[in-house]
Symmetry: C2
Subunit: 589 residues, 2 copies
């Protein structure tokens, strides 16, 4: 029972729903992203994920990473270095990288689809190149030409990997508390000293060099988060000498055991400034934002894998008879696919995964448009959408990735709880995605505290305009009543936040988590309506894949009837306000 990339579902969203094969090749520099080329790449990516990455997922979990206290080296699980090499050599690290530094310049959207497959197959292994993307983005946006020329080509080719060194023992969410220091040196470099924790891929044996992007404070730094700068600190310097940036140990974690989570000690390590002094957070957010989208895809990827296992289990496992009478009287019992409660768990996964996929791919396409469209207006409009939807994709898809993996486990009963099946690992691995790159609570605060108010609320106004225009489509849209009701609730909640949260930030913060979920459920409903519409049109046009399109139509109905009503209770939770949250003193808990 091994992962099979859901290529047909991915194509349905990318081409039939989002018109990616028309929109993407029209972007300057993306002319190569034709349907033929994208299909060929997806097929190759699927093979790599299925045949190279997936077979190492369970063994990587059992073996974990090993730390050598003498050499400070880290050994990744057997097979990881070779699989990573195949991944890089096949061009996957270079896919969306800038052409002038050896990248293929293909749309970020393609990367997104690849990320889903990679994370379905092996999240731990996928994290090493995943973190490198963030480093490449920050360096591309803020690095000097000299730094770019020295470091980008090998990061893009995958010969080297990158890290993001943010967290310290005393500071996670609150980066203003950073203590790592950067002392200016005579040669225009800096001596970086401090301890960073939870550094993914801080040390490993996959690549020849590791390029750390490190947040630190200059001697004259103002206090708080406005005094943080970003530095590039390579493991090996140009002359081949070892920079004193050593791994001090590995975390022992609930999951993603094949991913090396390192304590990193910088002992006057040589580094170079990226961007302006004290403006490191800006560059960090460039890393972070693309990383956040990708973490959302990790949640989706794991959900897809868990769903596949539980579906196959449900088809094969026989227990009891259908309530409507035996379906296969010659067998000792019917397949558990006949039981409504089993179907509930399967459909919850299916409806969430396919709807979230459309939301995620849409956001990825907006990112390409924001970067590459010719007109400034188009770019601004797309960027607004990316800003607004990034925290939603990150939080909703990772929450749901975990929930779907749990649905899969539950459906499988005791089998799901044993290590004979991969699902308990999916539950453990997916758990961290709700936390890293900003906990999902922080995503919700980002949404209500920054994104809603950004440019006078322009992004959310545009979003509602898009909903309204869709709902007014000539001839109507599928499930318009349910969608209209949910959008109405979201508008009401947004209004509530403007009226109550602008003068009282505790009110905004108390509503943040249910508001993000309300937003996400409504967004996914919008995409289910569109998917149902496209599927119906294909059937009307005489499409032969009737099972595929009928399933889309029925799953949309399930989503509207069985999942979307959660917006009712979220609305009530929001409108109840902050009082009952803030009433207790610390001692009364």
């Amino acid at each position: 029972m091994s992962y099979k990339a859901p290529l047909r579902d991915m194509q349905f969203v990318l081409y039939e729903v989002l018109n990616g094969d028309k929109i993407l090749p029209e972007l300057p520099g993306c002319e190569d992203a034709t349907r033929e080329i994208m299909d060929a790449m997806l097929t190759e990516g699927a093979k790599l994920a299925e045949n190279v990455l997936a077979p190492l997922n369970a063994s990587g979990d059992r073996e974990g990473c090993q730390y050598d206290t003498e050499t400070h080296d880290v050994k990744t699980p057997d097979g990881f270095p070779d699989a990573y090499r195949q991944f890089a050599e096949a061009g996957w690290t270079a896919l969306a990288g800038p052409v002038e530094y050896g990248g293929q310049g293909l749309p970020h959207t393609l990367n997104t689809l690849a990320e889903e497959m990679v994370c379905s197959a092996n999240l731990s292994l996928g994290m090493y190149p995943g973190l490198t993307h963030g480093a490449v983005n920050a360096l591309t946006s803020y690095g000097t030409d000299e730094l770019k020329e020295k470091y980008l080509p090998k990061l893009i080719s995958g010969e080297w990997t990158g890290t993001m060194c943010l967290t310290e023992p005393q500071c996670g969410t609150d980066l203003g508390l950073i203590r790592t220091k950067a002392e200016p040196q005579a040669d225009a470099s800096y001596a970086i000293s401090g301890t960073k924790i939870w550094i993914t891929g801080g040390e490993h044996d996959l690549a020849d060099n590791i390029i750390h992007l490190v947040l630190a404070k200059l001697p004259d730094a103002p206090s708080g988060s406005k005094g943080i700068s970003l530095f590039l600190v390579p493991k090996f310097l140009e002359d081949g000498s070892r920079n004193p940036a050593f791994c001090g140990g590995l975390e022992h974690k609930m999951g993603i055991k094949g991913s090396a989570t390192c304590v990193m000690n910088f002992e006057e390590a040589k580094g170079w400034l990226i961007g302006e002094p004290h403006k490191g957070l800006q560059a960090m957010f460039v890393m972070m934002n693309s990383a956040r989208l990708m973490v959302g895809l990790q949640g989706l990827g794991i959900a897809e894998s868990a769903y596949q296992v539980s579906l196959e289990f449900a088809k094969e496992r026989r227990q009891s008879r259908a309530l409507s009478g035996p379906q296969e009287p010659d067998k000792p019992a019917d397949s558990i696919m006949v039981h409504p409660d089993v179907r509930r768990m399967l459909l919850r996964q299916k409806a969430t995964i396919e709807g979230s996929r459309a939301l995620a791919y849409f956001t990825a396409m907006q990112l390409d448009i924001a970067h590459k469209a010719e007109s400034a207006e188009e770019r601004e409009q797309a960027d607004d959408m990316v800003q607004l939807l990034t925290p939603i994709v990150k939080a909703f898809l990772t929450d749901e990735g975990f929930f779907c993996a749990n649905d899969a486990l539950q459906l499988m009963g005791g089998s799901g709880f044993t290590q004979d099946w991969p699902v308990e690992q999916f539950v453990r691995d997916s758990r961290i995605t709700r936390i890293y790159e900003g906990t999902n609570g922080i995503q919700a605060l980002d949404l209500v505290g920054r994104k809603l108010g950004h440019a006078g609320g322009r992004a959310v106004k545009r979003y509602f305009a898009m909903m309204d225009a869709y709902l007014k489509t000539d001839g109507g849209v599928p499930h318009s009543e349910e969608l209209q009701a949910a959008v109405g609730r979201l508008q009401k909640a947004t209004m509530w936040l403007m009226q109550n949260g602008m003068g009282d930030r505790e009110q905004a913060a108390s509503a943040a988590t249910p508001y993000l979920r309300l937003f996400a459920l409504t967004a996914v409903a919008y995409f289910w309506s569109r998917m149902a519409g496209v599927a119906q049109q294909q059937l009307n046009d005489g499409a032969t894949e009737t099972d595929l399109y009928k399933a889309k139509i029925e799953t949309a109905a399930f989503y509207m009837q069985k999942i979307l009503p959660q917006t009712l209770s979220l609305m009530a939770e929001i409108e109840a306000g902050k009082d009952s949250l803030m009433a207790l003193t610390s001692e009364q808990f």
Copy 2:
């Protein structure tokens, strides 16, 4: 940061809310259950849980159980045998056992409170004596006097332990598929042959003997679940010889690694019939029902432990400033207790745990009344309540145990994901409680398929009468509006089930899971209203523990405003019916 039994909260529910110190000692045989004696026992139980069981929880998880392929023996983690001995010697296995076989005859309710503490401290260790209870109950109800005399005293003293051998590779939920055979022997014993899986405590080194209760089929058994008989199969026979009931291996599991989950091979092992031939399911349900209540307490126990860890973490961890301005300006940051979203996660746990505790203790008291009250009417009434509420306690408390542990982990961010803290283990350990003793989906089907219709719907009618009487209390009750609305929804959903589910069992099954949750949320709201009322009365009467009672009042408000509204969406999910669940063919998934 170690577990501390929440004795004051437990006493609040048992004495102040449920009047346990008045009701229990009035039951025939329970005269000793005075407040003084119960308090003394709870204090002793707390010490044992805190000082003996809890310190072995993490080490037991790391070490796990070891199987010896040559001897078929199982070694439990270091310290487990000694801790178990202390547990038994202190009288905890004998607490509620029948006096004529060496038990103390104390109320089952006290066992329930002890179970909560034991499972907070160490679920894996608690499972060995936990399973013994079930065996004792089945043997007490259905065993011959000879079997009782031979086996009950040592099971009750804890010198021996018991198991429940139900599951086989091809049959979990559907026990009609059992293949284990029982051949009658000349000496009135039976030769039992077959393989059982997932047998908790099937083999271990805690006790001198293990008494297996085994479901098997007699040669003349009718097919299906009406042809199953129950047998007692000891590991060692009376003459000291080894009965061929061997452990064939251990499961490798996501959690409860200190609990030995065994494959058991019976190779013409000697056994004796318990109860009537072919009526084993009846006796099995006696084991199962008390076990189901106890599994609910496991969920509650883990939730309490996770809450305690996350609360202490939240008080100590400093990140960012309060949104209303710095609370401790001399410190580098405020405690994260100031943040609304952190409080949301704490209060979700607190409100769920304390409300569920009241529901669980109430159900346990009803069980004592059902067994021991003098009047048949009282017994019947209490038994109705136990029947109705058992699946609800099992499913809701274990679902929420897992959710609470996840809230705790989420609140702690990356720390929660590492093994430096106990919470990731709580998440893994609690995961199985939603599955064993009947998955929570099966609990929901039991509720709608058996319990609602039992005796013409008598139990649910009595339940609604209790709600109505409470809501009509002179002078009103706290949060009567929210409670009335939720009860109204539950009545409407019950009516929907009667109208739609009686003629179409698929309709009933499709509504089962959301209906159980709707029922549970409403039941917990009822107890929160009562708790708020009691707390207010205590304050009015001049009680000095103002923090305790104020916290109850505010937490009740949080529950009503932020959790109870989930009933809105559950109602919509129920009323949407089965169509979207049943529409897809197997191939369309």
